[in-house]
Symmetry: C2
Subunit: 164 residues, 2 copies
């Protein structure tokens, strides 16, 4: 993997589960939405640096990524834990989380979806593949714990176009 | 992500593309096979530490993982570049690469598939999910370059049970 991208991996993965990362997406009308993610995979696929994120089809973000095929992953700076926690519990359909938390959106370098200025690391990603979690291949305990509503995740494989 | 696992990530991802990592699998008869991988994703999924590997259905390794649902990923030590390069070009159906290169297999701690003693880092993984690359969602240039034989990868999501 590109050494520059790889250098960010430890901090990214260590913050992934706690407090979480901020996934930013935009719909075709140009509206942005933010959600917190606690899962994700980073590495190389199809010779590209890739960030894989998982989004349930019921999420507002799902609609947005389907429309734009792009997203940014933003690694929060210290002191942003409360924001990250809240962005994981409220839907963007009900509240404009970006406005509510005074998050500043900045133009990305390679895609239309912006990045969050207050964050420390920014990944700009273009969706190169997507797959649906296959219900019949989900272990029974995971199914019971994570999919009581059968809203199986879409896995978006995003080519990392740049990170900084 | 578990700090212990995360600490190994930089070295693992930096060796992934060059020279590559060694993926070890075992069939139900207890025979092991090794192949070189240049792609893979590491992170958290379903609250588990996960190593995702991609194996074409035509590969000997594919048959082995399908039979055992386990694999180990072994990060080569310095000086193993030649072995890694060769293990990526010959099929285990034709040559016993483990014997040919005097690789020493050691009992893993949590699974039946062994690890390669000469390597530096060992991931023991249990398959928790698998997905098939979806041909109609593969970008045309990737399709042409990587799938002229239509042998689309199976993506194995392995829970990292331990790493050392």
């Amino acid at each position: 993997m590109n050494p520059k991208i790889n250098a960010f991996t430890v901090e990214t993965l260590s913050k992934l589960e706690n407090p979480g990362l901020l996934l930013l997406s935009m719909n075709k009308a140009g509206k942005s939405n933010v959600m917190t993610i606690g899962w994700g995979l980073v590495g190389t696929f199809w010779r590209m640096p890739v960030f894989m994120v998982a989004v349930r089809p019921t999420r507002y973000t799902h609609e947005f990524i389907e429309e734009s095929n792009e997203f940014t992953v933003n690694v929060p700076a210290d002191g942003m834990d409360e924001i990250v926690q809240h962005c994981g519990t409220i839907s963007g359909r009900k509240v404009d989380k970006i406005k509510e938390y005074n998050l500043t959106l900045e133009m990305a370098k390679k895609i239309k979806v912006p990045v969050i200025k207050q964050c420390k690391i920014h990944y700009e990603c273009k969706v190169v593949h997507k797959l649906q979690v296959t219900p019949k291949l989900v272990p029974p305990d995971i199914k019971q714990e994570l999919y009581p509503k059968s809203d199986y995740h879409t896995l978006y494989f995003g080519e990392i176009l740049t990170v900084y």
